[in-house]
Each structure stands twice: as structure tokens, then as C-alpha cells.
């Protein structure tokens, strides 16, 4: 079986006003269907840039990215992005209209069916009672759940999540993580998840790609993450191992 998303030898560079920054260098990985694939690394390892490139917002300097065998050239609704920022919801639309918006814009569904599907997914993230509210009346956690519902309602090939819970308070973050896993149990969607939190990576992912910073290179890939559990302390041990891996060179370099 060929992978759903195949990233091979991708180097990403972006220009600032005076220099060209290499964000990632020859990064390769592949995501299979129903993977919860986590890109983990300290800031500056190019994980968000990598996600944006998969989203089609920037072109790799070298290397190839394919989704379902097609090369990624531009943004598209087969890869739904979920951002960290709360302002990703359209403030001029209600919660329901926000979830319906991509379905209608991409002409995926006629209005009536789009509304049914939007309501169904809002039900899944338990936001059925705020469907007619405007986003500014919601809490941060609710906004992120609407964004997740909006992404999932499109039933894309892959969900791209860019630290979606990083701006939430600790309690809400845990609830949202649990909910995401619950949703995954129900629909087994494929998700590419970016985070800088080791604990979150272990909790969310079944595979983790560790990236080192400046420029971002692949350091390790961790498989079968779902085997560890917090009860017998194996999750804690993995967290320690990952931590040591990530900070091994910084300790010697400084």
C-alpha cells in the first residue's frame, strides 16, 4: 500500500527582507491512512513551515510532496488546515455558517445537505447549542472545536493541525486532546499534527517525527506511540527519552 502523504527530501527556504532562511533540510516522511502523525521539535525546527508546505502555501526548494500520488502545488480543500490562532473562524458568520462555508465554497454539497452535515459534526464536538452564535461570543476552546468540526466536515484526505491547542489553558487543552482522540476513534481520519509539547505528541500521536532545529532535520521517527500508557509509567519514560534526544546536542553545544 502506498502512503497517503509522501514527503521526500524536502528542503524549504523562505526569504526575509535581508536573508534566505533554510527552515528544513531534506526532510522525508510518509503518512499512512488513519495515522495520527506528529511533527515534534523545538521552535526553529521548521515544523510549522513544513505543515504550511504540505498545505500548499509554499513550494519546496528541492524534494517532492505527494498526496494520494498527486504532487502538491497549491492549497486545496483535500488538506484542511486547522490553525493555532483563534481568528481562523470567519467572524461575520455564525458557527453553523462557518462549518458550512468550505462545503459550499468548494461546491462539495448543496446548501441543505451542507447544513445537515455541519450540524452533525458540530454535534460530534458537542457544540450543538451554539450553532447560531457568532464566534466572538465563544471561548477559545469552543472556537478551536468549531475549527476542528469545520475541518472534519469536509472529510478531507488529511487534517493539518498547526498547534491547535497551544493557545488554550491547560485544563481546556486536556479536554480538547481527549475529544480529538475520541473523534479519531469514531471516524479514523488522518491527521498531521504539529506541536512543541512532548507530552502532547505522546498523547495525540501514533507516530512521531522528531526534528532538530536550525535548519530542521529529521532526528528520529518513533512508531507505535499508542502502545505506551501513562498508567504504567511507560509514557513518562518515553517523554524522558525524547527529551534527552532533543536536547542532547544543545547540552554539548553550549
Amino acid at each position: 500500500m502506498s502512503a497517503l502523504l509522501d514527503v521526500s527530501g524536502v528542503t524549504l527556504r523562505y526569504k526575509t527582507s535581508s536573508v534566505v532562511v533554510t527552515a528544513t533540510e531534506r526532510v522525508s516522511f510518509s503518512v499512512d491512512r488513519s495515522d495520527r502523525f506528529v511533527l515534534l521539535g523545538p521552535s526553529g525546527c521548521g515544523k510549522s513551515t513544513l505543515l504550511k508546505a504540505v498545505g500548499g502555501y509554499m513550494k519546496p526548494g528541492e524534494g517532492k510532496m505527494r498526496i494520494n500520488g498527486r504532487e502538491i502545488t497549491e492549497p486545496g480543500a483535500d488538506r484542511m488546515m486547522i490553525f493555532q490562532e483563534f481568528d481562523q473562524l470567519l467572524p461575520w458568520k455564525t458557527v453553523l455558517e462557518n462549518v458550512m462555508f468550505p462545503l459550499l465554497m468548494t461546491r462539495r454539497l448543496p446548501r441543505r445537505e451542507a447544513e445537515q452535515r455541519a450540524r452533525a459534526y458540530l454535534e460530534k464536538v458537542s457544540l450543538a447549542r451554539v450553532v447560531d452564535s457568532y464566534p466572538h461570543t465563544l471561548s477559545g476552546g469552543m472556537k478551536q472545536r468549531v475549527a476542528i468540526a469545520r475541518g472534519m466536515a469536509m472529510e478531507p484526505d488529511i487534517l493539518l493541525m498547526d498547534e491547535p491547542f497551544a493557545a488554550l489553558d491547560a485544563l481546556t487543552r486536556r479536554t480538547c486532546q481527549d475529544e480529538l482522540l475520541q473523534l479519531w476513534e469514531e471516524t479514523k481520519f488522518t491527521v498531521l499534527f504539529v506541536t512543541h509539547s512532548i507530552a502532547e505528541a505522546i498523547k495525540i500521536g501514533n507516530r512521531i517525527l522528531l526534528l532538530s532545529p536550525h535548519p530542521g532535520r529529521v532526528k528520529a521517527e518513533i512508531a507505535d506511540v499508542e502502545q505506551v500508557s501513562s498508567e504504567d509509567g511507560s509514557a513518562g519514560r518515553l517523554e524522558k527519552q525524547i527529551h534527552d534526544l532533543l536536547f542532547a546536542d544543545t547540552a554539548t553545544a553550549h
Partner: protein
């Protein structure tokens, strides 16, 4: 290693019989005073009283008629149809100029966001022409378009175009990167992208531009009418003011000025406020 102790405290249950004051209805007076319309009406009423007092104190209707005289004259002129006719003549020209100005502003800003040279063009043009008072172009306009609505519409376009284009463009530029990426994620580009993402996201700034454009247009129009007044036998409010000054009918001059103010107030407080309440305030993008 010990265990932490949890002490259950039933304070909430004990006090259930004696509910705390969670909500209190505001008194009638507080409710009224919370209404912006009431507060503004009170200010206007106060100004009218000051006007009336000063007018009676001066007792010289040729210099400064009282509020009462002005209202009576205004009422007469409204009843005999002069003021409505003149106001309508002004508003007709205004709508033409305002509409054309907005259309041009839309074209300019869409060019400005789609190409870099378009941005440079808009920025240079607004920097050059925005500070130029529209009325200063009137003598030229009179030579080019003659005595008539053509000249008025020309100066109105000039007074509307630049503030609307400037505000719309800065509104577009300040649309957050996240929202732009969201729009592109759904494959939106070109005009649908502008219409579905940029315009609603920048609506606050656009509305500000429209308000400034409206105020500029209205004052430019009245001033232009004062300068050359009548066109095709039917002058507007500016001409009405000028005419009555020549007849030394000062209460009528005041009535004309008051009409200009009242129309301005109505547009600002009814039309623009209603739009604001149903858009940017409902969306929480502006308080």
C-alpha cells in the same frame, strides 16, 4: 507518602434557601441613560436651549435668529415644498457622485491588492490627491464640464474616491494572515476571494471610509453649490442658502443650514449606525 485530604464543603447547598443577588434589573432612568440615542438627543436639546437663549438675548434676527424663528421658517419652507425640493436636488447629485466614487475606489483597490504596481499606483495617487481639497478643483471642473451637474459630480468623485480607497486598502492589508490562508485553503482566489474573505474581514475599515467619504461629499457639494449654485434651473440646498442670504432672509439661511445638519445627522445616526449594528458590532469586530 500520604494521601491528600479532600474536605467537601456544602456552602453552595446551605445557602440555596437564601439566594444571593446575582442579577438586578436596572431602574428606568439607568436604562434610558444607557441608550446612546437618548444621551445624544439630550445634548441636542441642550444646544437648542442655548441657541434660543442667546438669540433672544441678542434680539437681532438679521444677525442671529432664535431657534424658534428658524424652526418656524423651516417648517414653512418644508410645507411649501422649497426645502424638500432643494434637498432632493442636492441629494440626487450627491448619490451620483458618491456611487461613482465608490465604484472607482473599488476598481482601484482591487487593482492595488492584485498587483504590486497597482499598490504603488494607489498609494501615490492617494498621497497626491487626498490632501487636495475637492473644492479647489471646481474652477477647473467648470471649464471642463461647464456649469452643471457634470462639474459637481466630478468634484464629488474626487472627494469620495481617495478616502474610500485609502481606508479600504488599509483594511485589506490588515486582514490577518490566518484568515487569508483559510480562504485559500478552500480554493478561493480572484474576485470570489475578495468578495468572500477580504471585504467582510475588512468591513470595519471600509465602513469608516464610506462614512468619511459621505461627510466629505456632503460638505463639498454644499460648498460647490454656494460657489456657482444653480444648474438647469433647479438649485440645491447650497444655492438655497446663498439665495436667501442675498435676500437677507437670515432665518431661511439658518433653516437651510439646519437642513444640511439634519440630513447629515440622519445619514450618520440612522443609516450608518444601523449598518454598523447589523455587521461589525454583531460580529464583534468593533465595539
Amino acid at each position: 507518602m500520604g494521601e491528600a485530604r479532600i474536605l467537601l464543603r456544602g456552602d453552595a447547598a446551605v445557602m440555596a434557601g437564601d439566594p444571593a443577588e446575582v442579577e438586578r434589573r436596572l431602574s428606568m432612568l439607568e436604562l434610558l441613560w444607557n441608550d446612546g440615542f437618548v444621551r445624544k438627543a439630550a445634548i441636542i436639546l441642550f444646544l437648542a436651549v442655548v441657541w434660543e437663549a442667546y438669540g433672544s438675548f441678542l434680539d437681532n434676527p438679521l444677525l442671529f435668529p432664535t431657534f424658534h424663528d428658524t424652526i418656524v421658517t423651516m417648517f414653512d419652507k418644508v410645507k411649501d415644498g422649497t426645502i424638500p425640493l432643494r434637498a432632493w436636488a442636492s441629494l440626487k447629485v450627491l448619490f451620483m457622485g458618491y456611487g461613482a466614487g465608490i465604484l472607482l475606489a473599488a476598481i482601484f483597490t482591487i487593482l492595488a491588492i492584485s498587483t504590486r504596481i497597482g499598490t504603488d499606483f494607489l498609494e501615490t495617487m492617494t498621497a497626491m490627491f487626498n490632501p487636495l481639497p475637492a473644492i479647489a478643483l471646481l474652477p477647473l471642473a467648470l471649464i471642463w464640464f461647464g456649469l452643471g451637474n457634470g462639474s459637481l459630480v466630478f468634484v464629488l468623485i474626487h472627494s469620495v474616491l481617495w478616502p474610500v480607497a485609502l481606508n479600504t486598502h488599509s483594511g485589506f492589508k490588515s486582514v490577518s494572515n490566518t484568515l487569508r490562508m483559510v480562504g485559500r485553503n478552500y480554493g478561493l482566489r480572484g474576485l470570489p476571494y475578495v468578495a468572500r474573505i477580504l471585504i467582510p474581514a475588512a468591513f470595519g475599515s471600509i465602513l469608516t471610509g464610506l462614512k468619511i467619504g459621505w461627510a466629505f461629499a456632503w460638505r463639498t457639494l454644499i460648498a460647490a453649490e454656494l460657489v456657482f449654485g444653480v444648474s438647469s434651473g433647479q438649485g440645491g440646498l447650497g444655492w438655497f442658502i446663498f439665495e436667501n442670504r442675498n435676500l437677507l432672509d437670515i432665518p431661511a439661511v439658518f433653516a437651510g443650514l439646519l437642513t444640511v445638519i439634519v440630513i447629515g445627522l440622519i445619514v450618520e445616526n440612522l443609516i450608518f449606525r444601523t449598518i454598523e449594528r447589523n455587521t461589525v458590532q454583531k460580529w464583534g469586530t468593533q465595539s
